[in-house]
Symmetry: C2
Subunit: 224 residues, 2 copies
């Protein structure tokens, strides 16, 4: 089996946001062939999926949405339930936008999808520098799930996380260097799901801080 492993191909996990779009452009420089997957887990803002679809189309890569409705049904969080308010985590607590097990489910399902195509590479836009209090965005989690996936399926999975140790400002500069800045106008970040973005939720604030520190203007704001 090892001989037919397609080491020059990758799956990019795409949320429709700024980070996964930067990762997608990064992956297109690094790999010969790129496939994009998103997950419909019952998130309130379908704008995320629409954004991912548009971006994949602009780049001419195959795009697939995998429905995972159980995730939104099992968990209680502000991203799938509009009755729960968006709140950053108070001391020792997780933010209300944290979806239990989300990245673990996403990476596991993406890996199953990838293995059927003999593709060992997965690219994810997780980042522990500005990690918003999400434990499943940290490097120790990624290294642990990579090992677990290999053991589970006897397949040489490799998870690439090009943004892991970058600040938001460094991510913005990376995208500029990769020549993909214009694509960011199609991305969706806002937790409130509005367009133009609300500018006030934790996700909007983090995004605008990154552009401000990089000394660049957000193409999303220009587009609105």
């Amino acid at each position: 089996m090892a001989l037919s492993v397609k080491n020059n191909q990758t799956i990019v996990l795409h949320s429709g946001g700024q980070d996964s779009t930067t990762c997608l452009v990064w992956a297109m420089k690094k790999f010969k062939k790129v496939l994009v997957v998103s997950f419909d887990y019952g998130q309130r803002h379908k704008a995320e999926l629409a954004a991912a679809r548009i971006i994949a189309k602009k780049l001419g890569v195959k795009y697939e949405v995998i429905p995972l409705p159980f995730l939104g049904k099992l968990t209680k969080n502000a991203l799938t339930d509009k009755k729960i308010k968006v709140k950053t985590g108070a001391k020792g607590r997780l933010p209300t936008t944290f979806v239990d097990g989300r990245n673990m489910v996403f990476l596991t399902v993406a890996a199953i999808y990838a293995k059927q195509k003999n593709i060992p590479n997965l690219v994810a836009g997780v980042c522990q520098t500005d990690f918003s209090g999400y434990p499943d965005c940290r490097d120790d989690f990624i290294r642990s799930i990579e090992k677990t996936l290999r053991l589970a399926m006897e397949f040489p999975f490799k998870i690439h996380t090009p943004l892991m140790f970058l600040t938001k400002a460094q991510s913005v500069r990376l995208m500029a260097k990769l020549g993909g800045m214009e694509l960011l106008k199609y991305t969706h970040t806002c937790y409130e799901g509005t367009r133009p973005a609300c500018g006030k939720c934790p996700a909007c604030k983090l995004r605008s801080k990154g552009f401000r520190e990089a000394g660049m203007e957000d193409p999303l704001l220009k587009a609105c």
Copy 2:
């Protein structure tokens, strides 16, 4: 959060088979409260889920089926596709009954379900002694996913696998000692989905070998 963790409660993952039924009876002796979950992933033989439901009812424990249709759709295997024949793994190959990532998905989803109820314990009937060539039944996989789950959700998950190092004969003797033998007549093991069991598929052969070596009669055969 740590104070409200319910260490005396557990979730048992139930396939409707002999091993998870033995684990369920084991868990009922060890924990104060037990909840049972099964997964509908598109398996051809719904007899498995019917068996799990009957057994949970006999024991008076809460039972829930979580639908995971994506798993059967994404993977190619003999358990979800009747066009694929049941075959044991030839040298260096996995058996056709292996469902890529199945136990990783099951344990992840069960952990998400458990965390919503503040329950840290999961019981799974995996076993590496007679592991049928499934990598996700081995102890190194279980230890790895336990660590990954803890990191993903910052919750003190513990995966219990009472059958991990037992032979099938030892599992049969354990069930006899626990006083649960009669329950095994409701279990479903056969890959062909027939009742009485076909007696010829790898799962039936493994089961009958266990009873033979334990010097006991299988209650399922008496019941048919």
